[in-house]
Symmetry: C2
Subunit: 352 residues, 2 copies
DNA sequence: TATGCAATGTAAAACGTTTTCCGAAAACAT
DNA sequence: ATGTTTTCGGAAAACGTTTTACATTGCATA
């Protein structure tokens, strides 16, 4: 069978190739100059002939690559959560939404500019970027700046800082902490501490989640049950591992040894909570009888930890499809910029 | 600044545009007809002008898309392991290898044929495809057949069946089971059972891992400590969950209730083992004192389960870069087909 | 010195679209 | 009936490469 291109379709439909092109690009400026009746007829013929526009030609002549870049974190820096189910869940939302309209290109760290520059991608989804307390924060902010300056459409997934408004989609951490605070009041835990990712630099600001918790439970929050606030006795430990499990593990050991364990410990994320849980198991601390542990993220494994983890679930699939909508909006209106926060959901299991 | 295309480079280098093209496609047939000296000079000029061949034009005129498709499982079917860190680890191997040479396109389930047909991708990496005991096995095999018939370069990651030789890269399961068998002998566990994924169909063949274990430990293996072999008393449970955690959980409950628990239980994968571990925690079964549990996969979370999981680690990053090499070989020599098995590694922690 | 052949480079023809520009026809206003 | 606008569709010019086919040069051989 002969190759079927735009010419064959044109001939079969009895129109010129430009009309066929218009049938496939109804939104283009020239599209206005053909009647919908004709276009529909052309489309029917095209369907029958099983015609698909040649991607190379489209790309060469047209202005859109119909491709969205998806990238997980800076080069050689994969955030801990991306070693769990994060990317797949996000992609499960993004993929179906983009299907048929945009293709998804995996852009490895550092190639963003390049791909955007050569028009290989129309827009970029940056996932797994935590710029807060990140040693390469400067580099990341500079990149965002560059994107803004050039008007590149991009969106960051799960960048939760409320101090730096950026085009982003993420969990409404404050709402999440409200859920947790509500649970804590319900259970009646009087002493509440927080366990975030460890860092060797005590100067670094606390993560937003900790701040929210302090604000929401001023009467119950115990700063000394926090590694930053634990005081002189407690040494700061340099981070050695990529995974934050280790932070939870170390955190419990430290707080236990220095007798700073509260009645309830809220963890910055589920991975930290898992680490905390294993340390409790090891040290014989009963959860939740002696120590209640609450996570944040809703990782599926939480259902099967020992004991099953009470946590706050992030709608990651939702982030994915919202990211797509965000970018479409941004492409249409280059001035659009918003930090969207999606409310999470409380998952009550048995650790608190 | 004016756009820099092949013409500008040609002019700057004092050669014709075809010579510039040759400099960038040294492997093409026509490449032989220009001296390496000239080509190198052209390349230097191109570098200086910061020239990159226009992708659309390359695609239109050339025959290769320089793109590899990466796909995780059939539409609407994400295998449990892909909700852990699998895809990212594989991509961590594949990405750097492909970088600069091939782009990576995320192909969502069902679009493979389409993308290959329209030459949008040169080759395909299929990850997360377990065709054994899969309700859609027929569909998958048919797809593989079609690929073979048309000579599409593709490779399946982690398809471990030894009964159906397919272009694949995966863990050498037999070698893995040898490691486990060795550990079991060393520890002196006399009764060994196996816990695979549950299925409502008792007719289905055992997974290869179980078969290897039986073959390797004929003296210690207890078929009754296996859900398939547990006999009439034990009901088969239909799968309800995507995650195999649940299978481990249910498995332990069942075996415990019907008093078929062996001294040591080998699990088909880590997720099952985590489910088993939580069930033990819940039921008060001490691990490893009463029951030793061994996993398979080397999921990072194993380090922080309760107790930390003894398992066999799969070199997933290695799979990724081997997949790239595989496809390159296949593109060069269309007849090439091999099922590569990479030996795993024993990770001794405290659950056995 | 003529001849043939290998080595090197170029001109020009694709590749299959999108888009610009223009003319014909139709609709409308006078 | 005439002039003016609007609507519709086509001809043709890009887009930036790769590849084919051919021209030139240099060199060894007859």
């Amino acid at each position: 069978m002969a190759k079927v291109g735009i010419r064959q379709v044109a001939e079969a439909a009895g129109v010129s190739i430009s009309t066929v092109s218009k049938a496939f690009n109804p939104d283009s400026a020239a599209g206005r100059y053909a009647s919908e009746t004709t276009l529909e007829k052309v489309r029917a013929v095209a369907r029958e002939l099983n015609y698909t526009p040649n991607y190379g030609a489209t790309l060469l002549r047209g202005q859109s690559s119909h491709t969205i870049g998806f990238t997980i974190s800076l080069p050689e820096q994969v955030s801990a959560s991306f070693l769990s189910d994060y990317p797949v869940r996000i992609l499960n939302g993004l993929g179906p939404r983009a299907r048929g309209k945009y293709q998804l290109l995996l852009v490895s760290g550092g190639d963003y500019n390049y791909y955007l520059d050569i028009k290989r991608i129309d827009a970029l989804v940056l996932a797994g970027f935590q710029h807060r307390n990140n040693p390469r924060e400067a580099e990341m902010l500079e990149m965002f700046e560059r994107f803004n300056a050039r008007g590149y459409p991009y969106v960051i997934i799960n960048n939760n800082s409320d101090r730096l408004p950026l085009p982003s989609i993420g969990c409404d951490d404050r709402a999440g902490m409200e859920l947790i605070a509500g649970l804590i009041r319900k259970r009646g835990y009087e002493n509440v501490g927080f366990l975030g990712e460890l860092t060797s630099n005590p100067q670094q600001e606390h993560c937003d989640r900790q701040r929210y918790l302090e604000e929401l439970l001023p009467d119950r929050f115990r700063p000394e049950s926090t590694l930053h606030g634990a005081g002189e006795g407690v040494p700061m430990v340099p981070r050695t591992e990529l995974y934050s499990h280790a932070d939870g593990w170390t955190g419990i050991h430290l707080l236990h040894r220095f007798r700073r364990l509260p009645r309830c410990l809220v963890c910055g994320n589920d991975d930290i909570a898992f680490g905390a849980l294993s340390a409790c198991y090891k040290l014989g601390i009963r959860v939740p009888e002696e120590l209640a542990v609450i996570g944040f993220d809703g990782t599926p494994s939480g259902e099967f930890s020992c004991p099953p983890l009470t946590t706050v679930g992030q709608p990651l699939e939702r982030f994915g499809d919202m990211a797509f909508d965000y970018l479409m909006k941004k492409i249409e209106n280059p001035a659009y910029c918003e930090a969207i926060r999606v409310p999470p959901v409380l998952i009550e299991r048995s650790s608190a």
